[in-house]
């Protein structure tokens, strides 16, 4: 049984590397990524699981790091925006102007990257469903959707 009592050093697997961090069990993954590891790409927005700006990828799935405990991520594969190295979706966002102020962009990128990996042939209703998880105050939705289309390969 995994037991974490009080503040402890735990090991997280982040962007392909093992990282030791000191956490309270009550610390969210978002807090630990930003404050312990300096990975500030995941943004605090609503911190209530609504806006998606803190989205990271855990074991292939998009997860809102503000509503996940750091200790819950022990033994799981965490990818943050810093772990994307020239991924196709990043280029597609640039080429399609899929951002304005940029605050929501890391979260959107992580959702879109996960979608492209999980459903490379996603149909329109699937794309819309995945994108509904994130909010862009600048309303770049059409450009973001165009960026996703640019990297997916719809079944003919």
């Amino acid at each position: 049984m995994l037991i974490i009592e009080g503040k402890k050093v735990i090991e997280l697997y982040v962007n392909g590397k093992k990282r030791n961090v000191v956490v309270r069990p009550a610390d969210t993954l978002l807090y630990t990524l930003r404050e312990q590891l300096g990975l500030t790409g995941a943004k605090p927005g609503c911190e209530n699981g609504d806006c998606g700006s803190c989205t990271v990828i855990i074991d292939g799935w998009p997860i809102k790091s503000c509503i996940m405990l750091s200790v819950d991520a022990i033994g799981r594969n965490i990818i943050t925006i810093e772990g994307l190295k020239d991924a196709p979706i990043q280029k597609a966002f640039v080429e399609n102007w899929g951002f304005q102020c940029g605050y929501c962009t890391p979260g959107f990128l992580m959702v879109c990257h996960a979608l492209a990996n999980m459903h490379p042939n996603a149909e329109e209703h699937v794309i819309e469903k995945w994108l509904e998880s994130n909010i862009c105050r600048c309303t770049s939705y059409e450009e973001i959707q165009a960026a996703v289309h640019a990297i997916l390969k719809p079944l003919s």
Binding site: E5, G6, K64, I67, M68, V71, W130, E132
Partner: protein, 279 residues
């Protein structure tokens, strides 16, 4: 940030989970079983829940099952709504889960958490009530398998220390023709103004509701009224006379408006299931 501290335990077996819960409870730590954690974390952040210990059930193999065994579908309590949707093993349950919160949250919300949570809607229980599912409950005496109808009355009636291990549904119910309608006040992603779920089994319609009253329910009296051999408006009026309690009247919608939406939804639901079948 969660403004208080707690300890975290991730047992590897059902027995370990029950035992550690009991020990923590004896120590006065007000333990909570933990699945996806979305509800616990958001409520803890706003001081709406308190605990000194979480017992995470995701390390228990039995809680992570999602497979057919003979003629039954077994779903572990920590299986996520996304996993259920993507598997297409129980399309109705998958579709309902795919309208709870948003997609990313569905990657974290578990079936057990949705059924046993404190938020009143608990929409995933609706198809399980319609399919007379069984539920496996763990406690200090071991495990017991009971009908969901026995332990779900307005909410899941579990004793302290008990948790859901699995939900078991006869395969025949996973392929029935169905209707799933979720109405919200403004946005697609929101708590339901009303969710109506209906299936057709042996030429009879089974129907369950969330958001209509202060708890999700399936009413045999309402089903009997809707299955009568009479005109549609007569059947619906009779069904509405058997509501288990008053219609919700809150900021999402007045009771009058909900009744209006309910009547319209029932007409469409009955026409669909009595007409062309699967929708």
């Amino acid at each position: 940030m969660i403004p208080f501290d707690f300890d975290y335990y991730r047992p590897d077996s059902i027995q370990e989970a029950v035992k550690i819960y009991e020990e923590l409870d004896t120590q006065g730590k007000q333990p909570l079983y933990y699945g996806g954690g979305t509800e616990i974390i958001t409520m803890a952040r706003t001081h709406n829940i308190f605990t000194k210990a979480l017992v995470d059930l995701k390390g228990i193999p039995e809680c992570n099952v999602l497979e057919f065994r003979n003629d039954q579908l077994v779903i572990g309590s920590t299986v996520t709504l996304t996993q259920i949707f993507e598997s297409r093993k129980f399309p109705l349950l998958g579709d309902i889960g795919s309208r709870i919160a948003d997609h990313t949250a569905q990657c974290q919300i578990t079936l057990g958490g949705n059924i046993a949570g404190t938020i009143i809607y608990r929409e995933t229980v609706l198809p399980l009530l319609l399919s007379s599912s069984q539920i496996v409950i763990a406690n200090e005496s071991g495990q017991k398998q009971v009908s969901l109808h026995e332990v779900f009355n307005e909410r899941l009636q579990l004793n302290p220390g008990e948790f859901i291990v699995q939900v078991i549904t006869d395969k025949i119910y996973t392929t029935l023709p169905y209707v799933h309608v979720k109405k919200t006040k403004y946005e697609k992603i929101d708590y339901p103004l009303m969710t109506v779920v209906a299936v057709k089994k042996d030429e009879k319609i089974r129907i369950a509701f969330s958001g209509l009253c202060s708890f999700p329910f399936r009413s045999m009296k309402m089903e009997n009224a809707l299955n009568e051999n009479s005109q549609l408006d007569v059947r619906i009026n009779n069904a509405l006379s058997h509501l288990p309690t008053s219609i919700l009247n809150d900021i999402s919608g007045s009771d009058k408006y909900r009744e209006f939406v309910l009547r319209d939804t029932l007409i469409n639901t009955l026409k669909t299931l009595e007409g062309v079948g699967l929708c």
